[in-house]
Amino acid sequence: MSFRTPLSTARGLGSAKHGVGHWISERVAAVALVPLVLWAVYSCILLAGVDYYGAVAWIGNPVNATLIILTIAIGFFHMQGGVRVIIEDYIYGHLTKAAALMANVFICGLAGSLAIFSILKVALGGA
């Protein structure tokens, strides 16, 4: 006869088995960001030297538009993942932690989407 409760049995099952995929996706994003961020720094210097019309023309180049959208999308994904780990490490209250994790996802999702939509609108000639 077993005295184990169903909950204790479930607890003994270990992880959700999703950790490896999550871990790999974070590394793939980090590797992609190495060349993208170096390109972004170069672009910052370039854009600091031009006015509004220069910036619009720069975004109009399909290579620039594609690379900046990739940098923003992968960058915000990476930001969300990094700050998620910091929240998980330092915030102990259950509800506070859940709220902080959600705020992190919402901020990254909103700012990233807003940036990408704005760039697409300029690149496609809407502004």
């Binding site: 980090a30 190495v34 210097i45 600091a48 006015d51 923003i72 960058g75 990094g82 807003l114």
Partner: protein, 142 residues
């Protein structure tokens, strides 16, 4: 002579700041601790950088006037200070991120390599930051 631990007080303890007096670390301060802390600090700073990039895109789509105000804000002394901080953070986080990726591949995890790569990351951060600002000065955009 080896020290034989006699009780809980003699055991090595995790570093924490308050027990044993204010800021009395139980472990020796180590450069690898500093690189780890700085990775999080610069990562946090780059969260702000991401939001600045998003604000830049929104300013651009809002037209010449909004874009002009945004760019003059970035070009102000405070804006330049922020951009300098962001450039340091970018290069530190990039260099130390590559160090983490090398660790993830299973290399350089011994103490000697980890210490050496810590100083390599500091060197890269300083060199890359100076190089970028020198290029920006020479291009006449600062």
């Amino acid at each position: 002579m080896t020290i034989v631990p006699r009780g809980p007080a003699d055991r090595p303890m995790s570093p924490h700041l308050t027990s044993g007096g204010m800021f009395a670390l139980h472990w020796r301060w180590h450069v690898t601790m500093l690189t780890s802390i700085l990775h999080r600090v610069t990562g946090g700073a780059l969260y702000a950088a991401g939001l600045i990039v998003a604000a830049w895109a929104v300013a651009l789509v809002s037209g010449p006037e909004a874009y002009g105000s945004f760019m003059s804000l970035l070009g102000s002394p405070l804006g330049k200070l922020v951009m300098f901080g962001m450039s340091v953070s970018v290069f530190y986080h990039l260099g130390n991120g590559v160090r983490h990726l090398i660790w993830d591949a299973g290399h350089g995890l011994d103490l000697k390599s980890a210490n050496a790569s810590a100083y390599a990351v500091f060197g890269f951060t300083i060199a890359a930051t100076l190089a970028v600002w020198a290029i920006a000065f020479m291009a006449g955009v600062v």
